[in-house]
Amino acid sequence: MTVLAELAGARALAAGSGADDLVARVDRATAQLRTADIAVAVVGEFKQGKSTLVNALLRTDVCPVGADIVTAAPMTLRFGRPPAAFADGAPIELAEIGQHLQGPVEVRLDRRLLGAGLAIVDTPGVGGLDSAQGNVTLALLPTAGAALLVTDAAQELTAPEVDFLRRTVERCPRTFVVLTKTDLYVEWRRIAEINAGHLKRAGLDLPIVPVSSFLRARAQARDDTALNEESGYPRLVDLLRRDVLEAAMQDRIAAAKAELSFVVERLRERVDAEGAAIRGVPQVVQRYEEKARRSAGLAHGTWQTLLGDGIQDLAADVDHDLRERLRLIIRNGEDVLAGSDPRDTWPDFQAWAAREAAAAAADNLMLLVARTEQLAAEVAERFGLECDRLELDLPAPELALGKAAELDVSFQQTRMQQFLGAFTAARVSYGGFYLLGAVGALFSVAWAAPLGLIAGLTLGRRLMKMEKERQVQQRRQLALSELRKYIDDVGFHLGRDCREAVRRTQRLLRDEFTSRARAIERSATATEAAVRGASQLSTQDKQSRMAALADQRRKLDGLAASGVGGAAR
């Protein structure tokens, strides 16, 4: 039985027992399973063949490539029929993509790989990995399902590349190294070997996939399978399908199954309770009365306090972290300026400041994501405990089928996933994150022309030294105050985004658990009503009801068994 069929089965059962909120839950889980592409980010240094790789991979030519062309903004390719392109959300002609490269572009293409649920993101190589742009790319990686680091066979991996890889893997565990341009360098096997050595020394266990985009394009033009094989792309496609697409689908299926088991658990409780009531198990009515009463308190349980306190701590820590990072930038800026004349180094100093700010933002964001995940897990755990407490000291009624206890153990193990489903902290934190795009760089400063330097042309140099030194000091002061203004600006924007992200997280977690609490409460109330109704049925009705319940129970067990299996995987 596929998950979708199971979800449909659970929906029918929930609808049959009139549990509308459970029906809504199943519908949402179904929708989540079906939608949302898995993003594959293509990252790497300038001129390593990232866009060419995307073109070759998807057998298209929409990504503009060339010795002189550089991708300046991310370009997303996802499935769509007929093909279309959008720049900043506005539709554009496919042929005109080259003129819209300054902003983000989205292209929809009719390709099997995309249709299977992948979205390829070609990231800008502008400024290199170790730049503001590189850090922005890095900051977005936690939302990606996989990353491909592109490096060409002209030379071994460089220190910045290895460093970037390490930070990539922290954010996106499914990362692969793609060695491009193998057609141009006869020594590419040795380069691949050397690279493997670099990765090993860095403690990274990543596969290296050598490819030739040129051969792939040629193979397509000639419809030549052997040539395609030689290009190395089939292996890459295979990796994407198996290790990215299927793995991500497994995660999603696990989330859907967790939701399924939550729903099944509610439904089964009702069936069991009703069955027990019909069979005349003693105290069953009182038990469910008590449980319903307790469930009403769940929405305002201690998990709310935990969430509230946790959010406050989290907000304070993240804010403090950001301040600390920004302070450090200013201190380092002072050092850098102390060793240079800003008049000469201004453009590079600007790039430096932008990079440091972006790195601070990316790392701060990473902290936010990690802490959010941790908090969510804690809240889920507390919520789970409180759910257990609902019937902890209640007399355990002798229920119809003994299997339930055994299954409950598995439910415990997957509690967090059961409650959080497809929750990803990254996606919550990033909703509309500002990410520096508009903070821009330091302002350009019009440096006053240095006075009297030329006058010393025919004099000895020593006479000029003092004056020169004084002017440099002045410029350093000016540069430093500019840096402070810039960092203030960055701090303001980032701080605001951070607070919003924290609020979003709080709201999401609160809504999520409140709605679960309500579902449990409603289910308990419904169970109580069913129990009351069942105990008052006539003997004949009892019998037919019993048969119906046994049937439902059988169906639910079938769903639960596979649901638990999926969730535990």
């Binding site: 002209a154 220190a159 193998t182 141009l184 360098y185 030689e230 790039a351």
Partner: protein, 480 residues
């Protein structure tokens, strides 16, 4: 050598200082004045420094490899025969044995590379007579703050004592907004470039744009764009695209290598295309072909086969000449001659004075004398002005600054080059141009509305023009 020339004055000054103090550094500086100009080849790892060196010398000397290769600073100097001397970091020096594999020198160091300060390789070569070439281990990538400081350091004083007189910087194809864009300009104590003694080389130009036949055109465009970058212009005003592999192969192409290429070219077009599709295929088709590919690169092989197939070249010397022309190494040599060779005396004098500055006490007789030479020698004034112009320190219109740059020797110190004429220009033409320039710059120097700095600079330029005229008159008198 007359005592009135700049170098003559510097020699006399150094001799005097040595007699007074007897410092070893001064003795070395004195010796250096009479040696060829020292040119370092700097850049990051795998930029193609050794390949370029081979191309410049015209002989396979420095070993090259796909992985990182050069580990020790190696000086290639002209000598009566082949020989290698290792200078230890402990001050020792000893002759080291070496073997040659496919021409490349393999030196047995006899100790760890870290313990060797530098190697001196002596090679009988007329090209090395003009300038000593110094191959450096590439710098690994720097963190951005370091390169920021490095750049400031390079530009700060510009007259500090350095072991080399001029630097060739090898640049990678990189984006201008990369924080590491300028990392090639890393001062490492061996070499130090300033806008007057540095030349940029866009290296591995044949690999830009996927080794297609138009690679050098694309590289030319990129080099032009680099040259327009304000930061680069301040550091090195000229940037030349060079395919070092092609240059080296062009200088050393053998008859049997030509035959291999000719065989390939003789195949039907479709087969050639299939064979040259990837480096792998070509290499797999024979061991000699694999070796050839290592020497020429895929671009080199493609270009050669195309040239032979088109009938543009018919023999090894023809192909060698064509490859050399394609490599851009000729252009680099021209630039080197204009930028360094013509100015060798001034650069050497500057290096010597810098050493002197660090060795004698300020205010001593030698220091005063050095200061006097600096202020008095117009060549040094020109050099300093050139530095200021190129660092954007002189106010003035772009056209004015461009002319100033040229007049004070920015494109070569010969009179015709300074006046924007060709080498065939007659004496009259030169005199005529010089007179015009003199009048123009006198006006600027005296114009009340000119900025003060510009007026000072213009006065220096008028002196240059006077010198050009005087030189022309002398020649005129001599020929009469």
């Amino acid at each position: 050598m007359s005592a009135s020339t700049l170098l003559g004055q510097v020699r006399a000054l150094l001799d005097g200082a040595i007699a007074e103090t007897g410092q070893g550094r001064l003795v070395a500086a004195r010796r250096r004045v009479d040696e060829p100009l020292r040119v370092a080849i700097a850049g990051r790892v795998k930029a193609g420094k050794s390949t370029l060196l081979n191309a410049l010398v015209g002989e396979e000397l420095a070993p090259t490899d796909a992985g990182e290769c050069t580990k020790v600073v190696t000086w290639y100097v002209d000598g009566p025969g082949y020989g290698v001397t290792a200078y230890g970091s402990d001050g020792s020096r000893e002759e080291r044995p070496f073997t040659r594999r496919n021409g490349a020198l393999e030196v047995s160091l006899g100790r760890k590379a870290e313990k060797v300060e530098r190697l001196e390789v002596r090679v009988p070569s007329s090209r090395l007579r003009r300038h000593t070439l110094i191959d450096t281990p590439g710098i690994a990538s720097l963190s951005a703050d370091v390169s920021l400081r490095t750049m400031a350091f390079l530009d700060a004083e510009g007259e500090r004592a350095a072991q080399t007189d001029a630097v060739l910087y090898l640049l990678r194809h990189m984006h201008g907004s990369d924080v590491r864009f300028l990392e090639s300009f890393h001062a490492d104590g061996i070499s130090e470039g300033t806008p007057v003694n540095a030349v940029g080389v866009l290296s591995r130009a044949d690999e830009i744009g996927g080794c297609r036949l138009d690679a050098m055109v694309a590289a030319g465009r990129i080099a032009e764009r680099y040259a327009a970058d304000e930061r680069l212009r301040r550091l090195c005003p000229v940037i030349v695209p060079v395919a070092g592999l092609l240059g080296a192969a062009g200088a050393t192409l053998r008859e049997d290598e030509f035959r291999i290429l000719a065989q390939v070219a003789a195949l039907p077009m479709d087969d050639v295309v299939e064979l040259l599709l990837t480096a792998d295929r070509f290499a797999a088709s024979g061991e000699d072909r694999r070796r050839l590919l290592g020497r020429l690169g895929l671009f080199g092989v493609r270009v050669s086969v195309r040239l032979i197939k088109d009938g543009a070249v018919a023999d090894a010397p023809g192909l060698a000449a064509a490859l050399t022309a394609e490599s851009g190494i000729g252009r680099l040599r021209e630039v080197l001659t204009a930028q360094f060779a013509g100015r060798a005396e001034v650069l050497k004098a500057r290096s010597a004075l810098a050493v002197l500055d660090e060795c004698v006490a300020p205010g001593s007789r030698a220091a005063v004398e050095a200061e006097r030479i600096r202020a008095g020698a117009h060549e040094l004034v020109e050099l300093r002005l050139l530095r200021l112009v190129r660092s954007g320190r002189v106010p003035g219109k772009d056209a004015q600054l461009a002319e100033m740059d040229r007049l004070i020797g920015g494109r070569g110190v010969e009179a015709y080059a300074r006046l924007g004429l060709t080498v065939e220009a007659s004496g009259e033409e030169i005199a005529e141009r010089a007179r015009e320039a003199l009048a123009r710059w006198q006006r600027i120097a005296e114009h009340p509305l000119s900025a003060r700095d510009l007026r000072t600079a213009a006065r220096a330029v008028t002196r240059t023009c006077e010198g050009l005229l005087a030189g022309q008159n002398q020649q005129g008198w001599a020929s009469r």
